[in-house]
């Protein structure tokens, strides 16, 4: 592997743990920001998750100048334009995105407009368009899964053209990600499970796909260890603050791993299934993960076998012969899925979702072949291969 080369980049300040939210005023002041705007969605507000953020700022004499709480699940160019308008009108000077993937992506896109100017976010779509740092931008994730707080990507729907616009630039990365266990404490069981399995998939694919590298490997394995040690505890005891924090950190670590080494076929199939059958992303990840690992098995036997240590611990790892570890890793993931099914009926097959028709599989396969992440899958996937994986995942 003398030709191996890699890049690794993550300039996001991670502020994590007990009373992390209370660090926001200090961090904003450090960037000379005095008039922050919060970008969030109705669900977050209804769950009361804004209260501790606002209280933390007000107690330090920092006023939240404006709150936009109407980000839809699939954010659009007009939403971004509207929020940018409010930001300018209220003379804000920083953005705090509070929420899951959509609120965070919206915050990134709004930051482009308010920093670069104009009303047409589509102009900045693509890679490497931005050449300057943007306004101060903080992210407070309220799910433990997407890892968007440490990725340099945003996706916004152009509703007029009916296409999804991608934005990629390292300037989209927030200045800080604030990981506070209070923000994920009230996540319902099935979302906790699905988002944790999204993080698990990020870490597993980062560790087994083509762009793996020593730095992202370290983040990936640490994330897998945290998830396998904490997920079932949290499922059984949702108010387990320690466990919640472990999952939230694991999600950020898995995000750092995959944003530097990419994901593979699980995500290609998941993106296609999400678009066609409207299934949540984390659910698709959990569903496809073992089937894709089986498909990739002979190309990833060695790294996959290493993951057994982080999934099952040193005793199981050392008791398993090296030649059987890759299979044992897949079994461990299946076992975890069975446990999650028992606790919250997180589907393990397409049939169990009740939302996929068998005659949709071909369409899913075709769409998956056009997904960017398929490029980094360790095995070259043909249409027939994709169909075969889907048939195995059917029931």
């Amino acid at each position: 592997m003398s030709h191996k080369y890699y890049e690794f980049f993550c300039p996001v300040k991670v502020i994590a743990g007990k009373a992390a939210l209370e660090h926001i005023p200090y961090e904003l002041t450090g960037l000379a920001a005095k008039r922050p705007m919060i970008v969030t969605d109705k669900g977050v507000r209804a769950a009361g998750l804004l209260d501790p953020v606002i209280a933390a700022c007000e107690e330090s004499g920092l006023e939240i100048v404006s709150i936009y709480d109407d980000v839809p699940p699939d954010s659009s160019t007009s939403v971004v334009r509207d929020i940018a308008g409010i930001y300018r009108q209220e003379k804000c000077d920083a953005i705090i995105a509070v929420g899951g993937g959509s609120a965070i992506d919206t915050g990134k896109a709004v930051n482009i407009l308010v920093s670069e100017g104009g009303d047409d976010i589509a102009r900045y779509s693509g890679a490497g368009i931005l050449k300057h740092p943007l306004k101060p931008f903080f992210v407070v994730p309220t799910t433990a899964g997407t890892g968007s707080e440490v990725t340099a990507v945003a996706v916004i729907t152009d509703e007029k053209k009916g296409v999804k616009l991608p934005f990629t630039s390292s300037f989209l990365l927030p200045n800080a990600a604030i990981i506070d266990p209070r923000m994920t404490l009230t996540l319902p069981p099935h979302i906790t499970a699905a988002t944790a399995m999204d993080a698990m998939t990020h870490a597993t694919e980062a560790f087994t796909c083509m762009a793996k590298n020593p730095l992202s490997d370290a983040y990936a394995t640490a994330a897998i260890k945290k998830i396998s040690q904490s997920l079932l505890n949290v499922m059984d005891n949702p108010k387990d603050t320690e466990g919640r924090l472990e999952l939230a950190q694991a999600s950020t670590m898995a995000g750092i791993a995959f944003s530097n080494s990419m994901v593979g076929l699980v995500h290609s199939l998941g993106h296609a299934t999400g678009a066609i059958c409207h299934l949540p992303h984390g659910l698709c990840m959990s569903l496809y993960l073992p089937y894709v690992l089986e498909y990739n098995l002979e190309s990833i036997r060695e790294p996959l076998g290493e993951l057994l240590l982080y999934l099952e611990g040193p005793e199981v790892y050392s008791a398993t012969p090296a030649s059987r570890r890759a299979e044992a890793t897949i079994s461990a993931i299946r076992k975890l899925r069975d446990q999650l099914y028992k606790r919250c009926q997180l589907p393990r097959t397409l049939k169990e979702t009740g939302k996929v028709l068998e005659n949709q599989l071909d369409h899913i396969a075709e769409m998956a072949l056009d997904d960017g992440s398929i490029m980094f899958n360790p095995k070259e996937v043909t249409l027939e291969d994709a169909r075969a994986v889907l048939r195995r995942a059917w029931a």
Partner: protein
């Protein structure tokens, strides 16, 4: 002293090689699209008139092909009749050389941040598969295995390509041999 005199020659040779390989690939893309069903099926999903470019930053060698419809490619040489729709850009000529001398797979070069995509990623994914397929045609199996993720088990060389392929692979093997440290 010696290094100073040899370096420019190495640079020049590398540039020349990349230039030649782009021409070889451009012609081969067109030829393969005329005979190979797999390539046609991949290409058919691209819009008609799509201009695809592969180039070396900042102003280095480039190849431009157009999808003229129904899975057929037309090679335009190194100049485009209008702005290109999809561009795969190597960050440096050294990286283009690694890929074009089949020391690094196209997909690996993406994974290793050697090149960038400007344009629709789903088209780039298709073109990468077309390039992989192409590499299996114009190279002997041994080298192709290194250049693509997987060598297709059921690859029948179309008669029309075999003679042309020999010429290409002669160029390629020579270069690989001399290029390896």
């Amino acid at each position: 002293m010696l290094l100073k005199r040899i370096q420019p020659m190495v640079f020049q040779a590398r540039r020349l090689y990349v230039d030649i390989m782009f021409q070889v690939m451009g012609r081969a893309l067109q030829a393969v699209s005329e005979v190979d069903e797999t390539v046609q099926n991949e290409a058919r999903a691209l819009p008609q008139g799509l201009l695809f470019e592969m180039m070396v930053m900042p102003e280095g060698p480039r190849l431009i092909v157009e999808h003229i419809g129904d899975g057929y490619f037309h090679y335009h040489g190194d100049s485009a009749p209008r702005p290109v729709d999809l561009s795969i850009q190597f960050k440096h000529i050294a990286h283009a050389f690694l890929v074009l001398s089949f020391q690094e797979k196209t997909s690996e070069a993406f994974a290793n941040d050697r090149m960038l995509v400007d344009g629709d990623v789903s088209y780039a994914v298709r073109m990468t598969r077309v390039l992989n397929r192409l590499e299996t045609f114009i190279l002997p199996k041994l080298i192709a295995e290194r250049a693509v993720k997987e060598y297709p088990a059921s690859l029948h060389l179309p008669e029309k390509l075999i003679s042309a392929a020999r010429i290409y692979l002669k160029v390629a093997t020579n270069f690989v041999e001399t290029a390896r440290p």
